[in-house]
Amino acid sequence: MLKHFVSLEIKSFFRSASFGKGMVLKILMVLLALWMIVTLLATGLALYPGLKQVFPDQYPFVIVNNFVFYWFLMDLFIRFFFQKLPVMAVKPLLLLPVKRRQVVNYVLGKSALSFFNFLHLFIVVPFGFMLVRSGHDLGSVIVWGFAILLFTLIVNFLNFIIESLSSETELSYLPILVLVGGLFVLNYFNIVSISGLIASFLTVVGSNPLWSVVPLLILALLYAYNFKLLKAQLYLDHSLKTKVQQVEASTMAWTRHFGDTAPFIQMDLKLIWRNKRPRSSAFILVIGLVYGLFFYPNPDYANMPWFYAFIGIFVTGIFLINFGQFIPAWDSGYYKMLMAQNIKYEQYLRSKYVLMTASVIVLFVLSIPYVYFGWKILLAHFAAAVYNVGINTHVMLFGGSFNRKKIDLNQRAAFNYQGTGAVQWIIGFPLMFLPLAIFGLVYFVANFEIACVVLIVLGLIGIVFHEKMMGFITSKYLESKYKMIDAFSQDS
C-alpha cells in the first residue's frame, strides 16, 4: 500500500500541469533551503566555543537548553506560515479497498519527514559533536538529541492542529498569535516557567532516559488528535457539504461615480471581500500601514532620510503591490467569460487602475499621522504616493500581461505561493528599488527636497502619459490573450 501511495505522489509531482513552469520559484526555494542549512551548520559548530567564550562561567549545554523553548516557539511560528497541511488527493481512493486508517497514517507519516523536521539536526548534530569532544557522555548526548527530535515532532503536529483550526474558522493568524504570544507571556512573566521546565528536562534526560516518556506521550496525544481531525475529513460529505454562506448583499451605489468602470470596481470590491485569499491580503494593509512604525521611532533610521521614500512607497502602495501583482490572475476563474463578454480590455484594465490609485490616495491620507515624526516624512510619503500613482500602477498592469498563473480564490493568503511566478519577483525590483535608487541618488547628489521633487515629477509624467501607457499595456494584454486563457483554464 505504501508503495502505491508513494508512486501516486511522485506521479502527481512530475505530471502536474505547472511542473517546469514554476522552476524559478523552486530553484529559489532550494537555494533558500541550502542557505539555511549552511547557516545552521556553521551555528552548530560555532555554538559551543562561542558560548564558552562569551559566558566563561556557564556550561554551554545549559545555556542552549534554556534557549530551546524560544527556538521552538520561533519554529512553530515559522512553520505556521511555511509548512502546509499535508494533502493528498483522497477522493479517488475512498471507493477503493484502502483502509481510511492507512491513508491518514500515510499522510501524517509523510509530514514527519518534512524538511522542517530535519532542520534542527543541522544544529544539534554539530553541537552534540562538540559536546562529546569536550568530554560529555556520548550516550546522554544521543538521548538528548532524541528528546529534541521528539520536541520537533511535537511542534510539527501541533502546527497542523493550529492550521486546521485557523483554516476552518476564518480567524487567519489569530490562533497562532494567541498561542505563541500566550506561551511567551506566560514564560516571560514567570507565571509558568516553560523555558525552565524544558531546560531542566533536557539536562536531566541524558542521565535518566526514562524521562523521555513524557514528550513521547505528548507526541502520541497530538498524533491521535491529528489522526482524528484528518479522518473526519476523509468523508465525501466534507467536501460535498457546502458551507453555505449567507450573503450580505449591498448595491454599492456610490461606485457609480466611476462611470463605465463602475461594474468592474464593484466586482473587485466584492472579490476582495468575499474570498479568503484576497481578503487576507486586505488585512495586510494594516501591517503595511504600521510598517513605518518599525523604522521612524528608531533613531538609527530617523537619520537616514534617503530611506523614507522606500517606506513611503511601501506604506502608500501596500495594496497596490499586494493586489496588483496578481492582476489579472484574480479573475482567472472566469477569465474566459470576460473575454467572450461585451467588454473592452482597456475598460477592464482602467478599472484596476482606478482601484489601485484610489487605494494609494486613501493609504496616503491614513498615513498622514506619521507627520508626528517630522514633516520630512510626510513630504517623502507624498512624493512616494505620487510616484506610486504615476509609475508603479502602470508597472503593475504591465507586469500583469506576463501573468500566466491561475489563482484559486478560496485558499488562504499568507505565504500561499499559488499564482506566484518569476514575474512577481522581476516586477518587484523596479517597483520597490528603482524609486529607492533614484531617491537615494538624488539625495546624496543634491538634497532631500530635490529628491522628493524628482519622485513627484516622475509620478506626474506617468500621470500625464496615462492614456498612452494604457494603450500600450492594453496591446500587450491583447497579444497574450490566448496564452492567458489557456493558462488560466489549467489547474495547477
Binding site: T242, Q245, K270, M337, N342
Partner: protein, 235 residues
C-alpha cells in the same frame, strides 16, 4: 450570420478541427452533435475567439472574430461553469452581465422575471453565492445570463447536461422561442439526440473535427442520427 471558411485547428501534429465551409443563417437554430473529442467545444471556442485558429477564419455578422471585438455586443455564450463568477449571487451576476450589455437594473429585473418557472424557486432570492449552488442550478444561471441584452447570436455548449427533466423541457421551449419569434441565431451542442432534434432546425454531425453530416431536421432525422451513432459504436 456565421460563416466558417477553411477553418482548421491543430495542436502539434493533431488536427482537432477541420471545417472547409459552414454557414449558419440568421435566426437559425443550429445543433452540433458528435462524440467526445469531435471538436464541438473547439468550434465554439474559436467562434468566441478564446483560441486562435491555425488556418482560416470565422465571420460573425461579417466580422472576423479574431480581428475585431465588434462581434461581442450581439453575441453571448455559456460554455461551462468558468463563465460564472463564483463569489456573486445570481442576481448580482445578472446585473453585472446586464451592465456590460447596456441594461440597467430594472431592465434585468423584468427580463429575469420571465424565467421564474425555469428557475423553479431555486435561484432568485436565495442569498447564496453562485459557487454554493448545485451544478444544475449554476447552469440555469449561466444560460439565462447568456440571454440578457437581446443578443443576436447565442451559443450554448451542452445546455441540457446536468439539468433535471422538467428544466430540460422548459429550456427547449425557451430555445425554440428564441429562434422562431425573436430571430436569434442559436447554436447548441449536445449529446442528447432527442433534445437536439426537437429544438434545432439544422443539425451538423462532427467526427474527429470534420463535418460528416449536415441535415435539415425532419421526422426521420432522429432515426438517422441514432443509426449513425449506433453504427459508429459497432465500428
Amino acid at each position: 450570420m456565421i460563416q466558417t471558411s477553411q477553418l482548421t485547428k491543430r495542436y502539434g501534429d493533431k488536427t482537432v478541427l477541420n471545417i472547409d465551409s459552414l454557414n449558419i443563417s440568421k435566426g437559425q437554430s443550429f445543433g452540433l452533435v458528435g462524440n467526445n473529442g469531435a471538436g464541438k467545444t473547439t468550434y465554439f471556442s474559436l467562434l468566441l475567439d478564446l483560441i486562435q485558429p491555425t488556418t482560416g477564419y470565422i465571420k460573425n455578422n461579417n466580422i472576423r472574430v479574431s480581428q475585431s471585438e465588434d462581434w461581442k455586443p450581439f453575441t453571448s455564450a455559456f460554455i461551462d461553469e468558468s463563465f460564472l463568477i463564483g463569489y456573486l449571487t445570481p442576481e448580482e451576476y445578472f446585473y453585472f452581465i446586464g451592465e456590460l450589455r447596456g441594461q440597467n437594473k430594472a431592465d434585468v429585473d423584468t427580463f429575469v422575471k420571465q424565467f421564474v418557472d425555469f428557475f423553479h424557486d431555486e435561484i432568485l432570492n436565495q442569498k447564496k453565492y453562485l459557487r454554493d449552488l448545485s451544478k444544475g442550478n449554476q447552469k440555469k444561471v449561466g444560460i439565462v445570463a447568456a440571454l440578457i441584452g437581446d443578443p443576436k447570436v447565442v451559443i450554448l455548449d451542452e445546455p441540457f447536461a446536468n439539468l433535471d427533466p422538467t428544466t430540460q423541457i422548459r429550456l427547449k421551449a425557451i430555445v425554440k422561442d428564441l429562434a422562431e419569434t425573436k430571430d436569434v441565431t442559436v447554436l447548441i451542442s449536445s449529446h442528447d439526440l432527442m433534445h437536439v432534434t426537437d429544438v434545432c432546425e439544422r443539425i451538423v454531425v462532427l467526427e474527429k473535427g470534420e463535418v460528416i453530416k449536415d441535415m435539415a431536421t425532419n421526422t426521420a432525422t432522429l432515426k438517422e442520427l441514432e443509426g449513425y451513432f449506433a453504427g459508429s459504436a459497432t465500428l
